[in-house]
């Protein structure tokens, strides 16, 4: 008999509800189902308030779903783990630590050996173009730099899965493009599974292999779109017919959602 390969990450009938400020039961996510293959770059887009961040929090184990479950390698997610690293929208650097100290934070929580951690953090400083800033404090860094430290801190725990919550949304357009390209380089070098939340349709198409479009509140999966640009990708694909076609398709879905 043919044995079916289990998907790497399974999201099964996931719902999440909470009590809002008026103490009413509110659904943020309703019956979300999809799978993620190992090494895939997945983007999640949708109108604001569709529960994207909630979904990512559930994937990390920071929030527990009200019903349904998330399986990683067949195991249910119940709490955060070092197989996953969460990259927050705000860089959330510890202001009393230097760049190097911030990069090491997760590794220290993971109880990595000091020498291993030293070596690893130095490598990440190099890889994330932070050389010369090792002993700077967060307030001395630009927005792009802070986000680089944020990403380096996540990579430092050697996660299998990176959960990125709109990491570039507070950066200006030029820096944003540079960071997107750098993120693609990291993805190409590491072949980890990336789950990337964004408001920007262009960003999702440029980065991802697969895009999940969520409906408006409460979030459900509206459509799954495969993006088949070859890797490594560069900025020129943004002008291709296919790119524009996908963009139009997603924009229409989201527009329909907002006007429902």
């Amino acid at each position: 008999m043919l044995k079916l390969k289990k998907p790497f990450i399974e999201i099964k009938d996931l719902s999440f509800s909470y009590l809002n400020s008026k103490k009413e039961q509110t659904n943020a996510l309703d019956n979300v189902n999809f799978n993620i293959t190992k090494g895939e770059f997945l983007a999640i887009v949708g109108p604001s308030g569709c529960g994207k961040t909630t979904l990512l929090n559930c994937l990390d184990g920071l929030l527990q779903p009200s019903s349904g479950k998330i399986l990683i390698n067949g195991e249910k997610v119940v709490e955060p783990g070092f197989d996953r690293a969460y990259i927050f929208q705000d860089p959330l650097l510890l202001p009393w630590r230097t760049v190097l100290g911030n990069i090491k934070f997760g590794g220290q929580m993971q109880r990595l050996k000091k020498e291993t951690l030293d070596k690893k953090s130095r490598e990440l400083v190099r890889a994330m173009h932070l050389r010369g800033f090792e002993y700077h404090y967060p307030h001395q860094l630009s927005g792009g730099m802070k986000q680089r430290v944020n990403i380096a801190r996540a990579l430092c725990v050697s996660p299998q899965i990176l959960l990125l919550d709109e990491p570039f949304s507070n950066l200006d357009a030029q820096i944003r493009e540079i960071m997107q390209q750098e993120l693609l380089n990291i993805y190409d070098e590491n072949k980890k599974t990336f789950i990337f939340i964004t408001h920007s349709i262009d960003e999702a198409i440029f980065l991802a292999d697969k895009i999940i479009v969520l409906t408006r509140h409460p979030g459900t999966v509206k459509k799954i779109i495969n993006v088949k640009f070859k890797r490594p990708r560069d900025i020129s694909i943004k002008d291709s017919k296919e790119f524009i076609f996908i963009r139009r398709e997603i924009a229409k879905i989201i527009k329909d959602e907002i006007h429902v």
């Binding site: 690293a85 969460y86 959330l92 510890l94 993971q110």
Partner: protein
């Protein structure tokens, strides 16, 4: 010449401040030298300076200086230690804080010196009474600043720590304590002058040792120059302490 000009420009405010002090001292010396005011009421700055030197040379000041320093150190360090522990407990546990909050703010607002007669009644005139006053005067501001900053720890930083699987112990040592350091320093800044005032007044009333006792003794025996020498010594010490804490405060302010 040019570099001197630059120096003046850079240190302008400091030089202006210094000139204010110098003008007052010159005026004071003039008033005293021409005996415009009776020297029993106001000694000349030169006399005060000479008396300051001789207080140390003859060793007259040492027993009381040591008494004051030990009262202050014991009381203040105890306040810092207990304020630190209870500040974190109250900052961290909501329900406990709800119980103690009104009580604490009430005690913080009470001029501790008002209960000095009671303290003397309980503990007598010795070291312990004075240590208690220093402790009570400085404990509440320290406790409250630490409590406030532990309470106001950025929720997102806690979330970050949890996403990296930080243990409770790690959350406290790696997030909450470093996050409260500016609060601790500003608590010390408020508590220290209160502690010093408490100490001096307690010594006035217990009347057996310490700088406060010396001031009241010199006052009642009309040794004005010595009295002023002690006052200036205490003021100078306070200025130095405050400057050190200001420096510390700048170091631990994160400007984020």
């Amino acid at each position: 010449m040019k570099s001197m000009f630059k120096f003046i420009k850079q240190k302008e405010n400091m030089l202006l401040g210094l000139s204010g002090i110098i003008v007052v001292i010159i005026l004071w010396q003039t008033v005293a030298a021409y005996k415009l005011i009776d020297p029993i009421l106001l000694s000349s700055p030169i006399d005060v300076f000479n008396e300051s030197i001789s207080l140390f040379k003859t060793g007259e000041i040492y027993p009381d200086l040591i008494a004051s320093i030990s009262e202050f150190l014991i009381g203040f360090l105890l306040a810092l230690f207990l304020g630190f522990i209870f500040g974190f407990i109250l900052g961290w546990f909501k329900k406990t804080r709800a119980v103690f909050n009104p009580l604490l703010f009430g005690l913080y607002a009470t001029p501790i010196i008002a209960i000095l007669p009671l303290i003397i009644l309980w503990f007598g005139f010795g070291l312990f009474a004075k240590v208690s006053i220093v402790f009570l005067s400085s404990f509440f501001p320290i406790l409250i600043s630490i409590m406030e900053s532990a309470k106001n720890t950025d929720q997102n930083l806690l979330k970050l720590a949890r996403s990296f699987k930080a243990s409770e112990f790690n959350i406290i040592t790696a997030i909450i304590i470093p996050n409260s350091i500016p609060g601790i320093v500003s608590g010390i800044k408020i508590a220290m002058p209160r502690g010093i005032i408490g100490m001096i007044i307690a010594e006035f009333f217990t009347g057996n040792a310490g700088l406060g006792y010396l001031i009241s003794y010199y006052g009642s025996t009309f040794q004005t120059a010595k009295l002023l020498a002690i006052v200036i010594l205490i003021a100078g010490a306070s200025v130095v302490f405050t400057a050190v804490i200001d420096l510390l405060e700048k170091k631990v302010k994160y400007n984020n």
